[in-house]
């Protein structure tokens, strides 16, 4: 094996990210305390921007590196770009919040960058081992991130829950993959796909393994009945970490699921379709209904995440290219919406005060019509009201599911989204119809304000012109599968 046959150039963005992460580690070590924060911030944003730029590649047929363990195709490129951009936004949003809480340290930046690397490997892996490698790199970093505020009992508890359940899920996933290895004799995605295709998924061992794999994936995605960690972690983690966990990883999880279910087990689509239908139905129902009862905004958004993931599954379970591309569009849209919503929470928080209750948004329109309007955009977008991005995301997945013949499921999803609209409306109601209880001025640095506006108006702009992103997703999926 020579170095040239490894096709290292294809993995250049990941390699660059790794090198830069190590450099950040050294810089952190040798910087004076007062210069550290600025340097870390600059370096991490600089790295992510360069990584995003280096990802640019024409949407071509898949190309392989590391002897087939690593693939670069249209889906991987778009998902990675979305992940990197989302992470950069997380860092910009979190800076002031974390500095005020003395958490903006080298560890935070390092963990974020390592998690990003893990996510990039997840969406680009073409082998069960590299998939697992990416997943664990990501997961271990996030466990630590949740616990970063180590003096907070709530955060520690959340991290503990996250870690134990996460480890269990990883175990399930590995167990399932080992069974599939037993049935097919290979860990390579393409080879497994061929064997499953040939056996017409009649092998009970494969089906059995599939159950475990799906359970593991469902945990990572946070769909019912593997959702228990989501509300606790969302609520318990510092908001900046919640922002991180709620955004980019959803995109990565989509890519991960596609690699395992669609890429390698596309032949057994009938087997996993049914499981996803059940999980989707349960997530839509539980997520939307339980969210109504929440008074904590972070918890409410956690349940809303569960329902959104139920929506995303609608596209995947369709098992068609239309459906896959719809889910891809959904995951990217969802990440963009989450970023604004948690950004708003951080905006209203101050040193020593967490604006995480719904009541903290009371009368926001009187305190600041501008921020209230931005939040209004996000809430209506999440509820799927046009002309915002969330509407198109819902439209595409519903179309995917309906096209695959799941009419009843679409009607069910539609009914659930009406229930969902209620709690998003409640936020709007609090902001616009109620009088403020808190009149302290809202302070944010220019970067934060600018990004928040761009992010929220991006939802509107993408809602008015969704064509380009949609077509890109469709093209990517069509060339990748």
């Amino acid at each position: 094996m020579t170095v040239s046959s490894l096709n290292l150039a294809l993995a250049a963005p990941e390699i660059f990210l790794l090198v830069m992460t190590l450099i950040v580690m050294i810089v952190d070590l040798f910087s004076a305390a007062e210069k550290r924060e600025g340097r870390l911030f600059f370096l991490s944003i600089f790295t992510l921007v360069l990584v995003a730029a280096s990802l640019y590649a024409p949407l071509d047929a898949p190309r392989y590196a590391f002897n087939g363990m690593f693939v670069v195709d249209g889906m991987a490129v778009i998902l990675k770009a979305a992940i990197v951009i989302a992470v950069a936004m997380v860092i910009i949003y979190s800076r002031a919040y974390l500095v005020a809480r003395k958490l903006f340290s080298g560890e935070f930046v390092l963990l974020v960058l390592f998690a990003t690397l893990g996510m990039m490997v997840m969406v680009s892996a073409n082998h069960f081992v590299s998939l697992y490698l990416g997943l664990e790199l990501f997961a271990l970093s996030t466990y630590a991130m949740v616990a970063l505020n180590r003096d907070s009992a709530v955060s520690t508890e959340a991290a503990m829950k996250y870690f134990i359940l996460g480890a269990l899920a990883s175990g399930l996933l590995l167990y399932g993959l080992s069974m599939i290895y037993g049935a097919t004799g290979s860990l390579d995605v393409a080879t497994v796909a061929k064997i499953i295709e040939a056996s017409h998924a009649n092998d009970p061992l494969i089906t059995f393994g599939l159950v475990f794999v799906v359970a593991g994936l469902a945990f990572k995605l946070g769909v019912v009945p593997f959702h228990m960690w989501i509300p606790d972690v969302y609520e318990g983690a510092p908001t900046a970490m919640t922002l991180f966990i709620g955004s980019a990883p959803k995109i990565a999880a989509f890519g991960f699921i596609m690699r395992i279910l669609a890429d390698s087990m596309g032949g057994a689509v009938g087997d996993w379709q049914g499981m996803l239908v059940i999980m989707s139905v349960l997530s839509l129902a539980l997520g939307n209904i339980v969210a109504i009862a929440q008074t904590n905004l972070k918890r409410m958004l956690a349940y809303s995440t569960i329902s959104h993931m139920g929506f995303m599954l609608l596209g995947i379970l369709a098992g068609t290219k239309n459906g896959y591309s719809a889910s891809m569009f959904y995951s990217i849209s969802y990440a963009l919406m989450t970023l604004v919503s948690f950004g708003m929470i951080m905006l209203l928080s101050r040193a020593g005060f967490e604006a995480e209750n719904l009541d903290d948004f009371k009368g926001l329109n009187q305190r600041s019509p501008w921020y209230a309007f931005l939040m209004l955009i996000v809430m209506f977008s999440m509820a799927g009201i046009p002309p915002f991005l969330g509407f198109w995301a819902k439209l595409t997945v519903l179309e995917g599911a309906l096209n695959a013949g799941y009419t009843w499921l679409v009607v069910f999803a539609v009914l659930m989204s009406v229930i969902g609209a209620f709690y998003y409306l409640r936020v709007v109601k609090l902001m616009y119809f109620d009088a403020p209880t808190d009149s302290s001025p809202i302070i944010a640095d220019a970067g934060f304000r600018g990004l928040l506006a761009v992010n929220a108006f991006g939802l509107l702009a993408l809602g008015l012109f969704p064509g380009a992103l949609m077509t890109a997703c469709l093209n990517a999926i069509q060339r990748s599968f």
Binding site: P369, I385, L402, N403, V411, R426, K429, Y432, G467
Partner: protein, 459 residues
Amino acid sequence: MALLGSILGLAVAIPLWTGFDNATSAMQFVERTPWVSRFSINYALGVDGISMLFVLLNSFVTVIVVIAGWEVIKEKVSQYFAAFLIMSGLMNGVFAATDAILFYLFFEAMLIPMFLIIGVWGGPNRVYAAVKFFLYTLLGSLLMLAAFIYLYNVTNGSFDIVDFQRVPLAKDVQILLFFAFFASFAVKVPMWPVHTWLPDAHVEAPTGGSVVLAAITLKIGAYGFLRFNLPITPDASHALSGFMITLSLIAVVYIGLVALAQTDMKKLVAYSSIAHMGFVTLGFFIFNVQGMEGGLVQMISHGFVSAAMFLCIGVLYDRVHSREISAYGGVVNTMPKYAFFAVFFGMANAGLPATSGFVGEFMVILGAIKVNFWYAFLAATTLILGAAYTLWMVKRVIFGEIANDHVRTLTDINGREMLFLGVLAAAVLLMGIYPQPMTEVMHTTVDALLKHVAAGKLN
């Protein structure tokens, strides 16, 4: 500023009327650019003989609403007018869209400003009303969206409404689609028994909001029946016409009786709106020219009359801050000019000949009698009920002894109020005496639609 915007809107809409070709039922002033190529969605606008009238009505009412809100709204004025202008633009979009997704987009987006209008500037129970309004309409429209996606698949990837109208569909499919559309539009109209959001929303909304709700948004529901239910599912429409007529007659008679029992003026007018809209749907589902044109005339007329009624109530409310009928009495003694307008619009609401209210009702009854005597008979009771509840309210509010000190200190309407009430009164009279221009515009389109419905589209 807002006035300027709304007048500009009206000015732009007028060439639609003058340049309109009455001889064709096809879409005119068509504008079409590809928008979302993934779903071959076009940004496609156009008007025919039906929608053109509503675009005009909407632009006209917006001007009135802006004038009416001029001195009355004191809180967050800029947001109030911004919401109304956005709303007006979106409603024009609803009437002009010829692409289903574009239609849906305008249809839904319209809820956002209305939600805020009710919730921010509304009465004491506004939060309940706003949320109820939003969720009711959202549920219906999402089912319609599912129907759109289904049709998109059936037509091999087109969201063009004309393609929807052409594609042949089996009877049972048509019935399901009919109910999906029905869920959306019946709530909007609103038809009995899904009307319960309307009295709440009307009562709590600020005057301008009530006007727009009654004058325009209700029309969108009926417009949807004409644009979607009838042409896309003609056979189902025929099969279910008995069902629709029954619901319409219940609205006319039962809701008319309910209106009689109201003590809140706004609620009374809200219920009378439901009864009038029952007339409209009745006219549509008896499938003849008189019925349909009568329904359309009734829609336009109701747009003016209900707007005027709500404005009249608004005038009193601004002074006394009560909508209870019992809080008034003998207003004529202190506000004679106002009393003139109030009585006039009350008459129009009751369908007095020579006002616009009469023309539509008469045409619908004429159409109905051709189909079934009893339909016409029941529908005609509205002339009695309508007169009873409206005139009784007018009597209790306007005439009689001066009831209390509030009424004694009332000042008569000022020039601004005189202006918008006067313009509306002129419009109502004009339409009542000479409705010809309106029916001419819609005639070709209605004919073509009825032929299309009669032909059916079973394969």
